[in-house]
């Protein structure tokens, strides 16, 4: 979907996201929905525009997908961190899972403009869940598809093809976005090959602006201290090597302040 956003487009960088109110004024859906920016353009017939890929799989995204041309929506953005763009032309490998791959295409365009080599791998459980627009192919050197059912491209997962691609193209940096399990598997490979890895993380989010503290993930800071950090402010794009992976539904041991949780002191009326 294309949104006329004025100067918001000027500030949007690959990896940023927007948060949109859904359901109208009397809606029972009180929280905004976060969408990664697919592409932003600061000029054109409609002034600045932002494009989003909306998969209508929940009631909020369905409402949004049902908006008519010229309808207005309430959008806050651009939010969050963006993918770091190398100053030198390097060989970059972009890895996307399912519909989460949307921001990679805008990233590919920027990298291409900087003279980078850009290879892209897109994977999903089946061919219908791969988001690979035709125009996206123009800004990449190679595009590899993987599907778990073998319905398109290579049968298997993105991580099955990564080692060969990294070696073949002398990849110097990996950019990824998609489900957390995929990001974790990509990070393992990037560490094995000693390749930089920037990933856009996903966590349930209520506000998108850093006030609600729901979207946290455990990240190591410069001193090695693990802190629960907001994926809307310190992310969504983070250095993969700083993430403590596999920590959904648990606080990693050693996280700053984790001792305070689970400590059950009893109230003593005589104290």
């Amino acid at each position: 979907m294309v949104f006329s956003v004025g100067e918001m487009a000027l500030h949007a960088k690959p990896g940023n996201f927007v948060a949109i109110s859904v359901g109208g004024n009397s809606s029972a859906m009180v929280l905004r929905r976060a969408f990664a920016i697919y592409r932003a353009s600061d000029r054109g017939n409609f002034g600045g525009t932002i494009e989003l890929v909306v998969a209508a799989h929940g009631s909020g995204s369905r409402w949004l997908s049902e908006r008519a041309i010229h309808d207005r929506v309430d959008m806050v953005g651009p939010l969050g961190t963006s993918f770091g763009i190398p100053t030198e032309p390097v060989s970059a490998l972009l890895v996307g899972g399912g519909y989460g791959s949307a921001p990679l295409f805008g990233l590919a365009e920027v990298l291409k403009q900087r003279g980078c080599r850009v290879d892209i791998v897109l994977g999903a459980s089946n061919a219908n869940k791969i988001y690979a627009p035709l125009e996206g192919k123009r800004s990449v050197n190679t595009m590899t598809l993987t599907t778990e059912d073998g319905g398109a491209g290579v049968k298997g997962k993105v991580t099955d093809v990564l080692p060969q691609l990294i070696e073949k193209h002398n990849t110097e940096i990996i950019y990824s976005c998609g489900p957390m399990a995929m990001l974790e598997a990509v990070d393992k490979i990037s560490q094995h090959f000693e390749v930089l890895h920037q990933c856009a993380v996903e966590e349930s989010m209520a506000c998108g602006i850093g006030v609600c503290m729901t979207c946290v993930i455990p990240l190591k800071d410069e001193t090695g201290t693990i802190k629960m950090q907001r994926s809307c402010i310190e992310g969504p794009v983070v250095d993969g090597s700083k993430v403590i992976w596999g920590s959904n539904r648990q606080i990693p041991p050693g996280t700053l302040g984790s001792q305070a949780l689970g400590v059950t002191s009893t109230w003593d009326p005589d104290s």
Partner: protein, 311 residues
């Protein structure tokens, strides 16, 4: 600004006056910096900061959030940097922005509340202390002080003894009790100048695909318009019993009309929480709508409207 000159929008908790009755709600405004991108913090009656503990807290594991009909569950678990970092970083910044600050504190023991109160003495921007004795996201429900009148009283007495000066103490109570009025009476007797009503209600969502609780913390605090009638009821009951104790009302307020409902029930101020998640400028919207409504209904001051629905 002429609106403010011709209408007395001030409210009062303890010895302190606030130019507007619309505050943020604790835990829904971060440390203030995030919202300052959208408006000036001195437009608010006060910034109520996220409940701070003695030591850093990681908070609970994720998922921490589940949207529910007209509301949401959160299970943050009081994540925060601890009082020393808070005093070193957040307070000076809020002070530099001219914000009136109500610091919300949370402890696991009476002694921790006392320590927190001691550390807050003498802060210029401090307009009051919210004593959060009702966070539902603690590991041991027995530690929700606000479920026990005797425990509630001990905490407030300890804060009163240790804060010194004339800082207003606002006790934040839980609606998850049989008789909120009896808890309110105890904390007021112990020295609370005001009451914050209501904290979130304990709730739960089950993911029917994964067949397990949606939240890693299993239960969470329900907030948003879904709980507004509960807030109105609690405020109404407590105001009827303790008409001279100012109440900071909160619970699903998204509009000036909602705020007015809480004020008519007996609230002297209204905090905006979950609405900020959906609309970062919700506090400003509510403030402007409320002012317009009060004037259009012929009120000369906010004070005239407080508790107006009591029969």
């Amino acid at each position: 600004m002429s609106d403010f000159q011709s209408f007395d929008f001030r409210t009062k908790f303890g010895s302190r006056y606030f130019p507007s009755p619309i505050f943020t709600a604790s835990g829904c405004a971060g440390s203030g910096k995030e919202l300052a991108q959208f408006f000036d913090l001195d437009e608010l009656g006060a910034v109520v900061t996220k409940s701070i503990a003695v030591k850093p807290r990681s908070g609970r594991a994720t998922p921490r959030m589940a949207e529910t009909p007209s509301g949401m569950l959160n299970s943050i678990g009081l994540q925060g940097p601890g009082i020393d970092q808070f005093l070193a970083n957040d307070i000076p910044w809020l002070q530099s922005k001219g914000a009136r600050v109500i610091v919300s504190i949370s402890g696991e023991t009476v002694e921790e509340y006392a320590t927190l109160a001691r550390k807050l003495r003498g802060i210029n921007a401090l307009y009051g202390i919210e004593v959060n004795i009702s966070c539902p996201n603690v590991e041991n429900r027995g530690l929700v002080f606000a479920c026990d009148p005797v425990a509630s009283r001990a905490v407030i007495e300890a804060v009163r003894r240790n804060i010194g000066g004339d800082y207003p103490i606002i006790a934040k109570l839980s609606p998850d009790v049989t008789d909120i009025v009896s808890i309110a009476r105890e904390v007021v007797a112990a020295g609370a100048d005001g009451l914050a009503l209501i904290n979130t209600m304990l709730g739960m969502v089950i993911d029917v695909d994964a067949v397990r609780p949606k939240l890693a913390g299993i239960t969470g605090g329900l907030s948003g318009p879904a709980i507004r009638p509960v807030a109105v009821r609690a405020i109404y009951q407590v105001h009827a019993a303790l008409p001279s104790t100012p109440i900071l009302g909160m619970g699903g307020v998204v509009s000036g009309r909602d705020a007015l409902e809480l004020i008519f029930a007996g609230a002297s101020g209204v905090s905006i929480g979950t609405a900020t998640f959906g609309n970062p400028t919700a506090v400003i919207k509510v403030k402007e709508e409320l002012l317009g409504l009060l004037r259009s209904k012929g009120f000369k001051s906010l004070q005239d409207a407080i508790g107006a629905a009591h029969v």
